[in-house]
């Protein structure tokens, strides 16, 4: 029988290894799987490459993972956000590597990774410093740069509801990078607020079919990141 529900956060992240590449969903706090990230901090894997749009805020979630020096390299589009101090400090000290990728190129590279497309051409970044060193090419008299797929060992994703097959639906703009990250990782681990019976999710409305999900973890009351930051909380507490 297929049942992708795991019983604890500890179990969900137990096999993450040093040096792994992990995609983490979220745009700011919307869709950020904080509880999974905290479980990873507890688990201890280090020298990680993290693919995520931002670098976290305050000292919880992704920012806490970075603060604990578990991350060697960030691949992201916007490492500078309100209340984001952990990454900037380490970056200025030269203690963390940054691969800056335009947001749409980041999304497309992840989607390509999940879709078996090793590389594609895009008009984004042509003529800018972010195209430097990249192959460029003309199609129909317009110049494009070649960008390569990104794949990951693991993806951490936050969704709204799942069933035992791993089918997912999301909540509003917390969807963001979740669906494409699910497709691009060898092992996709999803935290959801609701675990429902098979058939409860409308097959016309499932956003991520279960084939892209390996593990589901139930977090009925996920942390409110803004509140944690307002309260100056740090993980581990």
């Amino acid at each position: 029988m297929i049942n992708k529900l795991v019983s604890s956060a500890k179990e969900a992240v137990s096999d993450i290894f040093d040096g792994a590449t992990i995609m983490i969903s979220g745009f700011g706090e919307a869709g950020s799987p904080i509880e999974l990230i905290h479980a990873l901090i507890d688990q201890g894997a280090k020298e990680l490459t993290i693919v995520s749009n931002n670098t976290g805020s305050g000292e919880v979630g992704l920012a806490a993972l970075i603060a604990h020096k578990r991350v060697n390299k960030m691949i992201c589009s916007f490492p500078r956000t309100a209340n984001s101090t952990v990454f900037p400090e380490l970056y200025q000290k030269g203690e963390i590597e940054l691969e800056l990728v335009p947001q749409g190129t980041l999304a497309e590279r992840i989607r390509a990774g999940g879709a078996g497309i090793p590389a594609f051409f895009t008009p984004t970044s042509v003529g800018t410093p972010l195209a430097q060193g990249k192959e460029s090419r003309e199609f129909d008299n317009t110049t494009y740069v070649m960008e390569k797929a990104i794949k990951a060992d693991f993806a951490f994703v936050k969704a709204k509801s799942a069933d035992r097959y791993g089918n997912l639906i999301y909540n509003k703009t917390a969807r963001n990078f979740g669906p494409i990250m699910c497709t691009a990782a060898k092992t996709t681990i999803v935290q959801v607020q609701n675990f429902v019976e098979l058939g409860d999710l409308d097959p016309e409305c499932i956003v991520t079919p279960g084939i892209f999900v390996q593990r589901v973890m139930l977090v009925e009351n996920p942390a409110d990141e803004s509140r944690l930051i307002a309260e100056n909380r740090r993980y581990p507490w």
Partner: protein, 217 residues
């Protein structure tokens, strides 16, 4: 220098209103963070404009009432927003399909510098040690059909933001269609910069003194 001569030109709201006036009925529009966001509130009545935010919402509405914010319903600036009837949510690859695939009609962005050939610099001053952050700006300028820049005409220290060539790292090459400043509205064409409208009290010769790039009337 603007301060010295006493010519202030349009207010920020007036600039945003000028932009808003140029957005046609039925347009799909992406507004950058900051001053561009003002545009949404100033579109003339009778026009229906649909706002896209690249983090996955088409049909973004006004700010929510205080206390009704949803941390999972935000815009690209990470501020709480609402969704209008007829809105839809989608993932990031689909969102940038709308952008890169030239489905969005108008994007309104701020600028550090705009060059006379339409080059835009708005993401980095290239300073050593600064944290570079690009977000979706490069995708927007590469993909959206019409790019409007809204910006003060000069920097706080009086330097022209409309330049012969950008000295800051580019966001995109030859991408800007029109610039709305406190002093004027300027079209960027293959033949150069053309002044479309000037703020009250601004003369063409004065405007040129405030502008590094060559202007045409």
């Amino acid at each position: 220098m603007v301060e010295k001569t006493g010519v202030k030109g349009w207010s920020t709201d007036e600039m945003a209103q000028k932009v808003a006036f140029d957005i046609p009925d039925g347009a799909y529009v992406n507004l950058g963070i900051g001053i561009p966001e003002l545009v949404a509130g100033l579109v003339p009545e009778g026009r229906e404009v649909i706002y896209h935010t690249e983090n996955g919402l088409l049909g973004m509405g006004n700010s929510p009432e205080k206390g009704k914010e949803d941390p999972e319903l935000i815009n690209a600036g990470k501020k709480a927003v609402t969704a209008i009837p007829g809105a839809s949510y989608f993932h990031h690859a689909d969102s940038f399909t709308m952008i890169r695939g030239k489905h969005i009609d108008v994007c309104v962005l701020g600028a550090l510098q705009v060059a006379e050939n339409g080059d835009l610099a708005n993401w980095s001053t290239g300073e050593a040690g600064a944290i570079p952050a690009v977000g979706g700006a490069m995708d927007l300028v590469a993909g959206v059909k019409t790019i409007y820049v809204i910006t003060r005409h000069t920097t706080k220290t009086g330097e022209s933001k409309i330049v012969k060539q950008c000295s800051y790292p580019l966001t995109g090459k030859g991408v800007v269609n029109r610039i709305y400043t406190n002093l004027a509205i300027i079209d960027i064409t293959k033949e150069g910069l053309f002044v479309k409208e000037m703020a009250p009290g601004v003369s063409f010769s004065y405007l040129q003194t405030q502008t590094e790039a060559l202007l045409n009337q």
